[in-house]
Amino acid sequence: MRLKVVELEMQSASLGYNHRPVLQDINFKALPRELVGLIGPNGSGKSTIIKALSRVIQPLSGRILLDGKDMTKIPRQELARLVGVVPQMPLLPSAFTALEIVLMGRNPHLGLLQSESQHDWAIARQAMTKTDTHTLASRRVNELSGGEIQCLLIARVLVQETSVILLDEPTANLDIGRQVEILDLIKKLCVENNLTVLAALHDLNLAAQYCNRLLLINEGRIHAEGTPSEVITNRNVREVYGAGNCVYAHPINGLPTVLLSTSQNKSIQIL
């Protein structure tokens, strides 16, 4: 699989719904072979950034560039060959099987009158083996657990063969074993295939372990940007999350690790 290498850039973008901005003046760049983490409290706009980068919503102002090209000028189908998304807890039609859902990832590659070929099936089979979902192939999606569906969606985005992958809370429904498995897989694909990967992550510890760079979003703006050690600091965590003095160095690799306990969290008043 040889993919085009794509650079992703937001230039002073203002994003929101119904003309009301949720995020303002967002500037960042994501490069190939880089796993960029979007972190921030609930409702800070992580999903909004993912929606804008996949053109589900248009920026209210500013520009989004794919390899320097304005994203609004790229036809929808071509865009879906460049940017793939793993949505958070999406609606899946229960009458379809897991394999049929995964094969939908081939849609942007097929012409109007084309049907999936042996080639497309081979790609789907490979992706399902990688994500450990091949045994689910003939099951209907309403019989699957949240974690299984999450893995299925990752298989679907692999089948889409895009240069950019956007993930919205990819580990939200997974047990800790699966969390590590899936993020390992994403990291490996990112490096091997020169993918540009942007993941909204709730878990600061996983974000610190896996991401090359983090964007900490708060109150409609980028609060901090940089390596995990630069972003996950006691000061930033206190300013954004209101939880103080809880960042420690990981005992093995020294990356920032957040450990919470009620006694350390001075901002929570126990009545």
Partner: protein
């Protein structure tokens, strides 16, 4: 590359599932031809199926069969029964296709071809046609189908316009606008019927639907709409599959959601409008046929749509056959038959298969 057998097995099953469904399309096509022959043979004058077959084949180009049948038999087959059977097949196919399209587009199992105002628009147009003081038959054509067709298209266009928010048309708004406008038009129709005096019987009979006045000229008018619309919809079947996800995911998988909605709505509305204009608003076929097909063959629209075309045609031809023969010479309204015969069959399917169908 090597795959373990566990990984191979379900995908092999997927392949064979596709083959089965292709054979089903073939099988239903053969069944349709057989049922056309049967329905053309049965009636007040019974004609042996072989004779019907010969009469029809003799009409094909490059075929030379010595005529062993009476001229009246040929007239009954070619001028009276066949146009009626073909029109019934066309309308059944159109309603089933439109129903499957609306159900898919709205992701709503309760959707039928009349969901967004087509039926009420057509009814209002037809009723106005009935009440006009002029007899248009003098002109060589009836104004009623034309007004019904215009009414159906205008009503749907108004619903679409009302549901529009900026550049998007949310499907829930579309359904609500359709239901509301439908209720408004329906009440106007009711009022007009009440005050229609001696024309009431004709209007009510039209509204219940009938193929009793079918002619080749009507087939000629309905066919181009139904054929074009159905082909357009079947071509977009894979996109309609992707639309079964939410619209956000469909966009992220390369579907131009708003454009697809507009094309599918236009095509489904056109084939429904063309059908109801001549034969009235026949219920039940449009909502139940796609569900029955889904229960038997699955939810993939690439098979669901062509199978619905065939199943809808077969169902409607059989229903019309029952409607015109059971109480002959009295005809039973076709809508009564579609429900009486279709509902038990559908309930049987529903009980037999317990897995999710939608």
């Amino acid at each position: 590359m090597s795959f373990n057998p566990v990984a191979n097995e379900p995908i092999g099953a997927y392949f064979s599932g596709r083959r089965t469904r292709l054979f089903s399309i073939l099988g239903l096509s053969v069944a349709l031809v057989a049922i056309v022959l049967l329905a053309t043979s049965v009636g007040s004058v019974h004609i042996p199926i072989l004779t019907t077959f010969s009469v029809l084949v003799a009409k094909l180009p490059l075929v030379d069969i010595a005529q062993t049948w009476q001229g009246t038999v040929e007239t009954i087959v070619l001028e009276i029964r066949l146009p009626r059977v073909i029109l019934a097949g066309l309308v059944g196919a159109a309603l089933a296709t439109a129903g499957a399209t609306y159900q898919g587009l709205f992701r709503n199992p309760l959707a039928d071809p009349y969901l967004i105002g087509v039926a009420q628009g057509a009814s209002l147009g037809a009723v106005i046609g009935f009440l006009l003081p002029i007899t248009w038959h003098n002109l060589g054509f009836s104004i009623i189908p034309l007004l019904a067709f215009i009414g159906a298209l205008v009503a749907t266009a108004v619903v679409y316009g009302l549901a529009r928010v900026g550049k998007t048309v949310p499907v829930t708004t579309l359904i609500l606008a359709g239901v509301a406008l439908g209720a408004l038009l329906g009440s106007i129709v009711s009022y007009l019927i009440i005050s229609s005096g001696e024309k009431m019987h004709g209007i009510v009979f039209w509204l219940m639907g009938s193929f009793s006045l079918s002619q080749w000229s009507e087939v000629g008018i309905v066919l181009p709409y139904v054929a074009t619309g159905t082909v357009v919809i079947i071509i977009l079947a894979r996109m309609l599959n992707v639309m079964q996800l939410d619209e956000e995911q469909a966009q992220q998988l390369g579907v131009n959601v708003e454009r697809l909605k507009l094309i599918l709505l236009a095509a489904a509305t056109l084939i429904t409008a063309a059908s109801v204009s001549f034969v009235g608003t026949i219920g039940f076929v449009g909502i139940i046929t796609p569900h029955a097909v889904r229960l038997i063959w699955g939810a993939d629209h690439r098979f669901l749509l062509p199978l619905s075309v065939l199943a809808g045609a077969i169902f409607m031809i059989l229903a019309d056959l029952v409607a015109r023969t059971v109480l002959a010479p009295t005809e039973i309204p076709i809508g009564v038959i579609t429900a009486i015969c279709g509902a038990p069959f559908f309930l049987y399917l529903l009980r037999r298969r317990k897995k999710a169908i939608f």
